[in-house]
């Protein structure tokens, strides 16, 4: 049972999971500054929750679950803003996404941006963060068969988008 009272254990957890959680948030949100905020919120909440965890695996799952919920909130807020904003704002957003997609990072950004959030999150947890099906199911609050099915659909959809964007390269 982790105790974050003295800071040592908290720092260990932070150093172990910071990169993974940041990668997840960055790829889900496609915007590093939003990912920064989410990561900070998640780890502060982890410190506040402290002793309520039963072992390391529950901390890992909790971190991804919490990051995912916060990212979904950010996406929801963004879509509200986009709906309220003018057409000019939409044009700027599209320009940022579509510019300079030659390098692989921009390719990934563009690909993930076109993928529905439900597919994006499961794909990132598996391919970018290397979580197993049980951990993904716990983080997404669903079952292992549902994860299996959703991953298959996500890969299929991602393949279609990839072909559409970059052909058969």
């Amino acid at each position: 049972m982790p105790d974050f009272g003295n800071g040592k254990e908290f720092t260990e957890f932070y150093n172990q999971y910071k990169a993974g959680v940041y990668r997840f948030c960055c790829r889900i949100l496609n915007r590093p500054e939003d990912a920064n905020d989410v990561v900070q919120d998640v780890f502060i909440k982890l410190y506040e929750q402290g002793v309520r965890f039963n072992g390391e695996s529950s901390v890992k799952v909790w971190l991804y679950k919490s990051a995912r919920n916060k990212c979904l909130n950010v996406i929801r807020d963004r879509s509200k803003l986009t709906n309220l904003g003018s057409d000019d704002d939409k044009t700027i957003a599209t320009d940022i996404v579509s510019s300079d997609y030659d390098d692989s990072a921009a390719m990934v950004t563009r690909l993930l941006d076109q993928l529905a959030v439900e597919y994006r999150e499961v794909l990132i947890l598996r391919e970018w963060n290397d979580l197993n099906y049980e951990e993904i199911a716990a983080a997404l609050e669903t079952t292992v068969p549902a994860v299996k099915s959703r991953l298959f659909k996500a890969r299929k959809k991602a393949g279609e988008i990839y072909r559409k964007l970059y052909g058969d390269e």
Binding site: F4, G7, Y47, S104, E127, N132, R155, G159, R163
Partner: protein, 148 residues
């Protein structure tokens, strides 16, 4: 076997969540189906893209996530005393027992007080016997049968 079933199995196989025995039939299908082959190739391509993708961790975040900063942000000094579960259980039982005893004592006192108040205005007298008996004084009545 339908292509969707095969592809779902292949997807799980890529993640080491399906054993070779279970995948045998799907692999047999894969050799003769171009759709499933392209799904499999796309999935591998996607994996290599994900592995190549470097997301640089911002160094500024480490400074913001300094333990002291977090502690200050939370605004809580975390002092914890570890109390064993059995001590907590005993304490709970003692507290419940004490609350019952206190309740009975208070109730007994109130009842005794109420009885003594009642007895002051009560014309009869209680004889403490088994069972208790109430002895009423003789009331002198007038000729019309009214009490004086």
């Amino acid at each position: 076997m339908k292509c969707d079933d095969v592809q779902e199995r292949l997807s799980a196989f890529l993640d080491n969540e399906e054993s070779t025995d279970e995948i045998e039939e799907a692999l047999g299908h894969l050799y003769g189906c171009s759709d499933c082959q392209s799904f499999f190739n796309d999935s591998i391509k996607l994996r290599s893209l994900a592995h190549k993708d470097q997301v640089d961790f911002p160094p500024g975040l480490d400074e913001a996530m300094n333990f002291r900063t977090i502690k200050a942000k939370c605004g809580i000094a975390r002092y914890r005393v570890k109390v064993p579960a059995y001590v907590l259980s005993i304490a709970a039982v003692v507290l419940i027992a004490l609350s019952f005893t206190f309740g009975f004592m208070v109730q007994g006192n109130v009842q005794r007080k109420e009885m003594s108040e009642l007895m002051k205005s009560f014309p009869g007298q209680v004889v403490y016997s088994m069972p208790p008996q109430v002895v009423y004084p003789v009331i002198d009545r007038g000729s019309k049968g009214e009490a004086r």
